[in-house]
Symmetry: C2
Subunit: 340 residues, 2 copies
């Protein structure tokens, strides 16, 4: 292959994105300069945060402009190195891959993958952004403790599946919210104590009340929207609400989010609502990965991936995620994984 296939943003979506928002182009494979490496992508990750990057609205992450290569993380193999720390054949993970076959990236932004900790895909799931997010957001922002009831939205998703299992490891009760009975059955199989299908329950607030009879001690909010509202109406005293993702608001970036507000509920429960961003915790990623890997090797941490085949499927895989149609961490396989 001498050409680099790449997905560029064709237009900013208004509302829910569709396939027409991207187009596949080709470009020459770039050359690394001093301090850089050329990487062949093996797996790309599609994640809810990317919805924010394609909105023209202000966000904490720099956005993608029309005509630019779509941003995204991945795992790949170094094919040419001009950086002392990395050699051809090394596996690396970063957020700088973009939706393309090959990328040139500066060595300091790359995490060298330690293949003894887990398979390559793990660096995009339980050892990567989703696993680390679950770890720090639940243990630190959520301050989970034994006896807590932990309610998790998008519970079978990349972050949610790890949250529920860490909650159980810490002696808490874990309640899953997901979009299908099949996902909830799997959530129970990995340790969740109860489940709520938000698409079929007649009243979400009552369903949360039934599943959490002593109230919600930790609400791990991956979505915002109606699940958030139902949780806020069922807070236990000193509840912690971890705002981790707001995907349910994603197609309303352009307008204010008008709805029921829970300022009095926060006061009455002396609850704490806090926004979480993984990159505030980079200095402790290695320690967290070591603990997550140990749990997985002990058989105490299960995970599930949903792998699409081929770069050309990347936008479709991302849309599947936005429509809650994925089951487990959504990845795209870009090239043959040489470790398999």
């Amino acid at each position: 292959m001498t050409e680099n296939r790449q997905w560029v943003l064709a237009s900013h979506p208004t509302g829910m994105p569709d396939l027409a928002n991207w187009r596949l182009e080709t470009a020459p494979i770039p050359d690394p300069e001093d301090g850089e490496v050329l990487i062949r992508a093996l797996y790309l990750s599609v994640d809810p945060y990317m919805r924010g990057r394609i909105s023209p609205q202000k966000n904490y992450a720099a956005g993608v402009s029309v005509g630019e290569v779509m941003q995204g993380g991945g795992v790949g193999v170094v094919v040419k190195s001009r950086a002392a720390a990395l050699q051809e054949g090394d596996f690396v993970e970063s957020f700088g891959f973009g939706w393309r076959d090959y990328s040139v990236q500066p060595a300091p932004g790359l995490t060298k993958v330690d293949p003894t900790l887990g398979p390559l895909t793990a660096w995009l799931s339980y050892l990567g952004l989703p696993g680390l997010t679950a770890y720090f957001a639940l243990l630190e922002t959520g301050a989970v403790k034994a006896g807590d009831t932990v309610l998790v939205s998008a519970a079978s998703g990349a972050v949610g599946q790890i949250v529920g299992q860490i909650a159980k490891l810490k002696g808490a009760r874990a309640v899953a919210v997901a979009s299908s009975d099949e996902k909830l059955t799997w959530c129970r199989s990995i340790g969740y104590d109860a489940g709520i299908n938000y698409r079929t329950v007649p009243d979400l607030t009552e369903a949360v009340a039934e599943a959490c009879p002593d109230g919600v001690d930790v609400f791990f909010d991956n979505t915002a929207g109606p699940i958030h509202d139902a949780a806020m109406k069922n807070l236990a005293l000193f509840a912690r609400i971890v705002i981790c993702g707001t995907i349910a608001l994603a197609d309303r970036f352009e307008e204010p989010d008008i709805g029921e507000r829970f300022i009095r509920a926060i006061l009455v429960a002396r609850a704490k609502m806090q926004g979480f961003l993984l990159f505030d915790h980079t200095d402790r990623f290695d320690a967290a990965r070591a603990e997550l890997a140990a749990w997985e090797k002990d058989g105490r941490l299960h995970h599930r991936e949903d792998i699409a085949e081929g770069l050309e499927q990347t936008p479709a895989a991302f849309l599947k995620l936005l429509h809650s149609e994925n089951f487990g961490k959504q990845l795209v396989r870009i090239a043959h994984d040489p470790t398999l």
Copy 2:
């Protein structure tokens, strides 16, 4: 006097209360039983939290039913004691006075007033609920630190006036929001760096942005409502929002609070919004009072009281508070203060 005058709740208000919600009755002066004391009220305190107590809605404090004596705190003198810890002539403070001349209260619920720390009224202002609220809510929940910009609603009120001064003592910048230029002038005289008259500025969000050019690090929310919204649109990274009072929502207890929601703002700023209740901190009241008294004696903590004369003025004083017409901590003098 052989009769006890007392204000009872005549009806639950719908919307803003008015004088017709209470009626003055008389009853015999009660006798203390073992472990109780009879107290002559000297000053009663009227506070925003009382609005919640007269709503039929669920709240963290037990409500007042129609026909019951209106609840409220005060300072008084023991006139008959059947408790070993207290003698006739001792001054005491508690939340159990009610709007009446005499009350019988169990000794364990009473705080014995140390007259060397400050005047009797201080136990209802900077050494009492408002001062202690400012102290713990700003220092612990708000985690104020040098260099922070602290935005305070109801800044000339009982809590707000202390918040601004503690913020300054800790090296922060303090910005007042109040309902009149006269109040703001006074706020500046006690140390506030800037002020916003929320009744006259054309755009509250822009006014907050101008007064807090680096964003709001700590928003001390005494009111909820439009000031809350303006603050939420101006959060600095890692902002802390202390939910201390929601008086602006007080006449909407019966209906949900519908409005703009700031879940994404909380996520983007990694902000923390937390409800505060003073009674979670009772074990450290003495230490906090000692520090507040020392600041006041050093001339570093100023305070202002607004004292209505006579028990018959109590409902009117409370309504004045609800309409932001008081200037400083609103008290009612019930009988002659023997320490003056």
